[in-house]
């Protein structure tokens, strides 16, 4: 399936292809995304979403979002099998994603620059097939999950995030002027029987190939839950 289009302008937009079907697991849809001062969006091939609250993008090349604001939206960007994606001069805040805000998989060059990302609440339970697993498994929802890709993060700030900011697997990354500040982060209440969780590490790097961080700030990640499940401020 191939979908080619371009959008310019402000407002709520939705794209549905002629062969849209809500019964399919994946379908081309881009919904409930408010774009402000939108100066350019060019996408080729398909946009794929799993339901109303996700905006997933597959097989994208030369994708650019500029000056985009998404406020109080349930939103997930999911990029796969793509190259040369740029998000610049944008802000994303007040967003709750049930999994991960920005999921990047097999993208040759993904760049986020001059962008503010704040108050993102991203949760993910993995392997919840028993109470035991629920207790033993971390919440690993991340603001950005990266796999088999190269992420360029430039002059971009993250604040008031729930849980870890970055989870990278088999990836390369380059950070320049990145600020991650957990000051004032509000930790979401968790079930009382989960006794080890809180904000995760700022960066969880698993089998990362290479990384370069320069002129950046990693600040104030100092909260964790006590064994009794309450937030402990140290």
């Amino acid at each position: 399936m191939t979908q080619n289009f371009s959008i310019q302008g402000n407002g709520l937009f939705q794209v549905l292809p002629s062969n849209y079907s809500s019964t399919q697991d994946t379908f081309v849809k881009y919904q409930n995304v408010f774009v402000k001062d939108f100066t350019g969006l060019l996408m080729s091939n398909s946009i794929v979403a799993t339901d109303d609250i996700f905006a997933s993008l597959y097989h994208i090349s030369n994708f650019t979002v500029q000056n985009a604001d998404a406020t109080d939206q349930y939103l997930l960007f999911n990029f796969r099998d793509a190259s040369d994606i740029v998000i610049s001069d944008s802000s994303f805040y007040g967003i709750t994603s049930v999994i991960t805000f920005l999921n990047i998989n097999n993208v040759l060059n993904f760049t986020v620059q001059n962008t503010v990302i704040s108050n993102i609440k991203a949760y993910q339970f993995e392997e919840i097939d028993s109470l035991y697993n629920l207790m033993e498994t971390s919440l690993i929802g991340s603001c950005i999950m990266l796999a088999d890709s190269h992420l360029y993060l430039v002059n971009t700030s993250f604040s008031s995030l729930d849980y870890n900011c970055f989870s990278f697997n088999q990836a390369n990354f380059t950070f320049e002027g990145v600020v991650v500040d957990y000051e004032g982060a509000i930790i979401s209440p968790l079930p009382a029987f989960i006794n080890t969780q809180s904000v995760g590490p700022i960066m969880a790097l698993n089998n990362v190939l290479s990384g370069e961080i320069s002129n950046s700030f990693f600040l104030n990640n100092n909260q964790y839950l006590s064994q009794q499940g309450s937030v402990k401020n140290d």
Partner: protein, 73 residues
């Protein structure tokens, strides 16, 4: 991927298949608190890690590695 979030609060480096090359320059790690390796915690004995001109300020580990904890294997 599993991590107990009390242990790692800055950069957690793990994996079995790679020898990561990390270069960190001019970066500030501040106000981080964990049980080990508040700013950087590496579980990989063989890591090519370069830290140049960075500031580690006000970080605290309750067990060890207030700023950096490197697992020597």
């Amino acid at each position: 991927m599993y991590f107990d979030t009390k242990f790692y609060k800055g950069i957690l480096i793990e994996g079995e298949d790679t020898k990561p090359v990390l270069f960190i320059q001019g970066t500030t790690f501040s106000g981080l608190k964990a049980q080990r390796g508040a700013a950087i915690y590496s579980m990989i004995p063989e890591i090519d890690l370069t830290i140049d001109g960075c500031k580690f300020q006000g970080n605290e580990a309750t067990i060890e590695g207030g700023a950096i904890y490197l697992n020597s294997g």
